[in-house]
Subunit: 345 residues, 2 copies
């Protein structure tokens, strides 16, 4: 990757960007998916006064929440506080965050009536995103990540807003009407590109694409319905490092490598030792601790972190992270302990 993609000038801590370039000679950088979240007492306090949707859509709240783990955990990268589904609002869907997870309204729609907004419409709709990025960039001495849901994952929430984890409608449509499903994915890719472009233009240092539900697919469908559209997004973002996160990533290593993203963020189904052998050196490796592991006793966490760091010793492209987002009931102390352990390595 060209060093020109990376904006290191104002940063005091470039560990993440160094690792993304495969040239980190210090300890591995550490950040955690959903690092600004429900496990934090400070976050809970904000949440008592605001709805999740408010928190995702107001720049004062976005910046404040994004900075919580930066200030409290002294983490190596910040990630914009947002939600993977936000870009779907641009198609006229309303988002609700209830106790059963996110819901979209209307829940029924015709693909033919969905229309991709113009760049200008997107910018105007998501000005709170670009404003937040600009505010944060002034403040931060560590890299700032932007993100979006991946096309398959975005489509899955549109089709299976209810009982999402079963993905029944998504898979029925995928197998029954591949042409319509492909059309929907094409649109999802366009929306994701526009949404990521807003963040990149406002100044994020890298972006991550979350294909959080791609793990349910067979290799053929993964190629046809994930890889194809991830490729389109990567092609549209030649000017920023892109990390691809996919559940099932430990299965689809070959397919993810074929995308040649800046980094692949792995779930916990394979060992880093195995992944290190499979992933070519020009692609950085991020991951892959099971988020539930943070329920363990501190001595177990210590043992696990040390063995992980040993596994990845002297690996210049390794980024310490979880295999999925931090869970709500995670003990705050354990998260702090984990980050401190990696940082003192």
């Amino acid at each position: 990757m060209s060093a020109g993609l990376l904006k290191e000038n104002a940063l005091q801590n470039t560990l993440l960007l160094d690792a993304l370039q495969g040239r980190n000679h210090s300890r591995p950088p550490v950040w955690l998916m959903r690092q600004a979240g429900r496990y934090m007492p400070s976050y809970q306090k904000i949440k008592e006064k605001h709805s999740l949707l408010d928190m995702f859509q107001h720049e004062e709240l976005i910046t404040k929440i994004t900075l919580l783990p930066v200030d409290e955990l002294d983490i190596d990268a910040a990630i914009l506080f947002s939600d993977i589904l936000l870009p779907l609002q641009a198609l006229g869907f309303d988002l609700f965050y209830g106790t059963q997870g996110p819901k979209l309204s209307p829940s029924e729609f015709s693909i033919d009536t969905l229309k991709c907004p113009s760049k200008e419409e997107m910018q105007s709709k998501f000005s709170f995103v670009s404003n937040s990025v600009r505010l944060l960039k002034k403040e931060l001495k560590i890299p700032l990540l932007g993100f979006s849901g991946a096309p398959f994952t975005l489509a899955s929430y549109l089709l299976d807003s209810d009982k999402h984890h079963i993905l029944r409608n998504t898979k029925v449509m995928m197998y029954k009407d591949p042409a319509a499903f492909s059309k929907l994915l094409e649109l999802m890719a366009d929306i994701a590109i526009l949404y990521l472009r807003i963040q990149v233009d406002a100044g994020v240092d890298a972006v991550q694409i979350f294909d959080s539900w791609a793990g349910v697919l067979d290799p053929f469908s993964y190629e046809q319905y994930c890889v194809k559209y991830l490729k389109k997004i990567l092609k549209a973002l030649p000017d920023v490092p892109v990390i691809v996160f996919s559940r099932g990533s430990c299965h689809y290593v070959k397919e993810l490598i074929s995308l040649s993203p800046t980094a692949i963020s792995f779930d916990w189904q394979s060992s880093l030792t195995d992944l290190k052998k499979l992933v070519p050196e020009h692609i950085a490796i991020q991951g892959n601790l099971d988020p539930d592991f943070l329920q363990a006793e501190k001595n177990c966490i210590k043992q696990k972190v040390f063995s992980t760091l040993k596994e990845m010793e002297n690996d210049k492209r390794y980024i310490f992270n979880l295999g999925h987002g931090l869970l709500p009931n995670t003990p705050y102390d354990n998260v702090k302990y984990l980050v401190d352990l990696v940082k003192s390595a």
Copy 2:
């Protein structure tokens, strides 16, 4: 595997047993997980009049339902109509089957108070199982399979009866108190052995162990909490062919091979072409069509079946099946069509 394990005398169709021995020179045998289930109008008629628990516990209903796909689909193997959780009743848990999936009562318990029943207590509690097997064996000209949930999967339902798909309590206990979790798994293995022994002694031709929820584990935990106890079960059943089904099986190929079961039943995350190369010839391969694929149009199903059969052409240890159980809303016609396609190969 010794040919002595297999009881072929009374059978007219030995395709499954031949494939389990790695010596099937005809078309591949076909049976489908949950082949007696909600997608069948004839099954729905029975279900209108009886609760699921009744259907699992009365020999007339068990035998009648077991025979539905034998008569209607002319399938190559029957599988006892039952549920993977039934053995948990032997520990004093009550089972309820509601619209949200199975629930166990009491939902809270102390592991120290759980006691493995004697062989005699098990036989008396599950006499409807042995009676059903004996009745079916008189009737059937194809092999009859017995089954049980695997230790990890059984434990997961005890610990996460509510919101089971998240497995939060299971994983918290696994990481926070490995000693207690191991103790629970030891008990689950003992119960599964006793339950499978009843079926084997009554005359089933093979058994399948379902580790339907093992796919959430990292390789280390899979080794420690699945492989170890599956090994114990296999050791206790030297006199019957054992098929091991595990979600995540495409990840844990190496670990499953180390068990050296008669067969491994794979989910759909890897291609059979890849699996064929990985699995040594003395282990049969079962799988691995995504059950949602049966929502596709007939021409797509035809194409898929033909390409699968081509992939496994002349493979003497291959058993056609799905990668998981048949789903409730599957079109009956498509299931019939699938079976006919494989049989006419």
